[in-house]
Amino acid sequence: MSHYVYILVMFAVIYLIRALPMTLIRRPIKSRFIQSFLFYVPYVTLAVMTFPAMIDATQHPLAGVLALVVGVVAAWLGVGLMPVAVLCCVAVFLSELALV
C-alpha cells in the first residue's frame, strides 16, 4: 500500500487527537478512572517504547544500557530534552569505540 495513505492516516489520527479536546471539551472530565488512566498513559507508553528498544537500537547492547543509565541520570538531574538526547548519543559513540 502507498506510504502516502499510511502518512495520511497517521496525520488524520494525530490531528483528531489534538483537535477534538480543544474544540469539544468545555468542562473537566468527571470520571476519576478515565482521568487517572489518561494521566498515566503517556508515561506508560513512552516507558514501554524506550526499553528494551533502546538497548536493541545500538550496535552493542552494552552501549545501549550505558546510554539508558546516562539518560536516566541526566533526566533525573533535570537536564533538558536536547542535552539528554545528546548525552545518550555521546555515551553510545564513546562506549562503542571500545566495544565494537
Binding site: M1, H3, Y4, V5, Y6, I7, F11, V13, I14, Y15, I17, R18, A19, L20, M22, T23, L24, I25, I29, R32, F33, I34, Q35, S36, F37, L38, F39, P42, Y43, V44, T45, L46, A47, V48, M49, T50, F51, P52, A53, M54, A57, T58, A63, A67, L68, G71, V72, A74, A75, L81, M82, V84, A85, V86, C88, C89, V90, V92, F93, E96
Partner: protein, 252 residues
C-alpha cells in the same frame, strides 16, 4: 484582571524567539527519526511530509514502525492513537485556557502544533493562551522538525554505522527526558516506569508474545498497566481552578 494587549507581530516574534531552542532540539532528534523513516522504506520527501504534518516524535516513530512491518491501516490508526494519547490531555488542558471570545478557527489551527515542547511554553504564559505566540514558535520549530527528518532520511545511509548507532538512541533519550522528571517528583510514576521497563523487556523476550508486532505489545502493555495504575492509584481530583475562573469570568 485584564490581560495587557500585545500586538500580533510582537507575539509572533516572542513565540519565534522561544521556538529557536526548541527547533534546534527538534532538528537533532528528527535526524534520528529520519533514520527510522529510511529503515521503514520512506523516501526523504515522504518523511518530510510526515513530519511537517504530524509534528510528533513518539507518534511518528511508532507510525514508521507500522509502515516497516507493513501492518494494516487500522493498526496505523490504533498505534498512532496510543502513541499520541498524551496530546488528548494537553489539548484538554489547553481548551480550559482559551479565550472564550476568541475566534474558533484558532482552536483548529493551534491543535496542529500541540507538541510536548510547544504545549509547555504556550501554557506557561499567564492568562488566556495566545494563538499568535504559539504560531510564532511553531513557525520556527516545525520546519526544523521536518527538515531534520528529511536530512536523517537522506544522510542516514551515507553515515558510518557508529554515527547511526549513536544517533539512534537520541529519540529514546528524549523520551527519558519526558518521563524521568515526573518520576522523580512522584513515587508512583517512578514505580510505574520500572514496571513498564520490566514488563516490556519480558514481552520482547518471552516466547509467543515476543512474536507479536512491537506496536501490539505497546498497546497491550499501555492499556493493562495504565488501567491497573488508574485503579490502584487514582489521581486525586483537585478542585478545578478553571471552574472558579469561569464563574469569576476573568483570566489570570
Amino acid at each position: 484582571m485584564r490581560q495587557t494587549k500585545t500586538s500580533i507581530p510582537a507575539l509572533l516574534a516572542q513565540g519565534a524567539r522561544n521556538g529557536i531552542p526548541i527547533g534546534m532540539g527538534y532538528f537533532a532528534v528528527a535526524f534520528a527519526l529520519g533514520i527510522q523513516a529510511k529503515a521503514a522504506g520512506l523516501t526523504p520527501f515522504q518523511s518530510f511530509l510526515a513530519s511537517l504534518l504530524c509534528n510528533a516524535s513518539a507518534g511518528e516513530y511508532a507510525g514508521f514502525g507500522v509502515i516497516k512491518a507493513e501492518s494494516g491501516l487500522w493498526m496505523m490508526a490504533v498505534i498512532t492513537f496510543v502513541a499520541n494519547a498524551r496530546y488528548l490531555l494537553m489539548s484538554a488542558a489547553m481548551s480550559q485556557r482559551m479565550d472564550p471570545a476568541g475566534k474558533p478557527i484558532h482552536r483548529f489551527a493551534m491543535s496542529m502544533y500541540i507538541t510536548d515542547e510547544i504545549f509547555a511554553i504556550t501554557i506557561a504564559r499567564p492568562g488566556y493562551l495566545s494563538p499568535w505566540y504559539l504560531y510564532g514558535a511553531a513557525l520556527v520549530a516545525s520546519p526544523c522538525w521536518a527538515a531534520g527528518t528529511a536530512l536523517g532520511c537522506v544522510a542516514g545511509d551515507v553515515m558510518p554505522a557508529r554515527a547511526v548507532s549513536a544517533l539512534s538512541v537520541a529519540i529514546f533519550g528524549m523520551f527519558l527526558a519526558i518521563i524521568i522528571p515526573p518520576a522523580r517528583r512522584e513515587k508512583v510514576i517512578a514505580a510505574l516506569v520500572a514496571v513498564c521497563f520490566a514488563a516490556s523487556f519480558a514481552m520482547s523476550r518471552l516466547p509467543v508474545v515476543s512474536a507479536l508486532p512491537e506496536g501490539t505489545r505497546v498497546i497491550l502493555l499501555t492499556v493493562v498497566i495504565a488501567s491497573a495504575a488508574a485503579l490502584l492509584f487514582p489521581v486525586p481530583q483537585k478542585p478545578r481552578e478553571e471552574e472558579a475562573e469561569e464563574k469569576g469570568g476573568a483570566g489570570r
